[in-house]
């Protein structure tokens, strides 16, 4: 005797991932860490940007990197030269990082270091324009990169990452003249779906725009510190 029933779930398909992201964010908040999720298509310049960022900001901001690229040890080794903890995550054949993978990285960070000493965790996502934006990893801020060589239409064709980004870096601006990239058009295309995004053209090669990016990083760590009123952080007195 069979009876058929209906169970109304109304649960987001990514429910399990969202719970994992909340878990990660709770760790970050507890330790006073801001987390940036850095996303782009393959080769847009994520690792190059992180290298410049670590080199310039590590004296003033205590950073760690969670490296989720599939060419992982290569990228991780490039970043380790800056004396910053780099936790490489084996993403297998996944085309994006998910919350669980990043949790593994966070727990390792907490095990090997004192996590509350860190201000900023930079997560380099798998190079992919399509789905990383759909899988939160517990970040406070989404940073998207689009290189000038990819074409102005990419934000229209792969809109979700660009729609959700808090900051868009238009990278490799040194190459713009060679590929006749129209930066205004790129910006206009992104603003069609994300009018409030901060857009910064940068070149890791010439250094153009990097100061603006560093300033953006600084201000977004401070926002986090001010709003996280349960744990006000004081500057450490010099020893």
């Amino acid at each position: 005797m069979h009876q058929t029933f209906d169970a109304a779930l109304g649960i987001n398909l990514l429910h399990a991932n969202q719970e994992g992201a909340d878990h990660n964010r709770a760790h970050f908040d507890q330790w006073g860490i801001t987390c940036f999720n850095v996303m782009s298509s393959p080769g847009a310049g994520k690792t190059a940007l992180l290298e410049k960022t670590l080199a310039a900001l590590s004296p003033e901001i205590k950073m760690a990197v969670i490296e989720g690229d599939m060419t992982t040890e290569l990228d991780a080794d490039r970043l380790r030269q800056y004396g910053v903890p780099v936790i490489a995550i084996n993403t297998g054949r996944s085309c994006h990082l998910d919350a669980k993978m990043v949790a593994g990285g966070i727990h390792r960070l907490a095990h090997d270091y004192t996590p509350s000493e860190f201000d900023l965790v930079l997560v380099e996502n798998v190079g992919n324009l399509v789905c990383p934006a759909e899988f939160e990893v517990g970040e406070h801020v989404k940073v998207a990169l689009l290189s000038v060589t990819e074409g102005e239409d990419k934000p229209l064709k792969y809109p979700i990452m660009f729609q959700e980004a808090d900051c868009l870096l238009i990278t490799k601006t040194d190459l713009a003249p060679y590929v006749e990239a129209d930066m205004e058009q790129i910006a206009a295309n992104v603003r069609q779906m994300n009018p409030d995004v901060t857009i910064i053209p940068v070149s890791a090669k010439t250094g153009e725009g990097l100061e603006l990016w560093f300033e953006w990083v600084r201000s977004h760590i401070r926002v986090q510190l001010f709003t996280n009123s349960t744990q006000p952080r004081q500057p450490q007195p010099a020893a």
């Binding site: 005797m1 069979h2 058929t4 779930l9 649960i11 398909l13 990514l14 998910d98 789905c131």
Partner: protein, 129 residues
């Protein structure tokens, strides 16, 4: 690729529900809503679901996908419009950016259809073959 991961996430969520049911019912249909403005391709999802549920508690269950179109609301015009995905997202009348998405971002498990065997509910250790 990512549909495989989406399907994994889907199965985990349904499994949580299934394991919370004392009688572990037989699930015959999983109803999903998939918005047009997501990274999910319904055909790939169907395929991945079929492959990944084989031999599991969801073996033979049917995945029913309802697609929802991208619909935005323009505050200046006080009007709904349908952006052309891949081409234009701003309001076609006044060019205001797309800000309020009314539909198209859904990735939701709406409901499950399941059956329980009224005999086995009192004799759970007897597994009918």
């Amino acid at each position: 690729m990512h549909e495989t991961d989406m399907t994994k996430a889907l199965i985990v969520t349904v499994q949580d529900w299934w394991e919370s049911q004392p009688d572990r019912p037989h699930i015959s249909q999983v109803h999903l809503t998939v918005g047009q403005f997501t990274c999910v391709e319904p055909m790939s999802l169907q395929f991945a679901f079929e492959v990944q549920t084989r031999g599991t508690f969801l073996d033979g269950a049917e995945l029913v996908i309802r697609e929802t179109p991208l619909i935005a609301f323009c505050h200046r015009c006080q009007k709904e419009y349908r952006p052309e995905v891949g081409i234009q997202y701003a309001c076609p009348v006044c060019q205001s950016p797309m800000e309020d998405i009314l539909s198209g971002r859904e990735l939701k498990i709406d409901r499950l259809e399941y059956s329980t065997d009224s005999h086995s509910s009192t004799a759970q250790s007897v597994h009918p073959t």
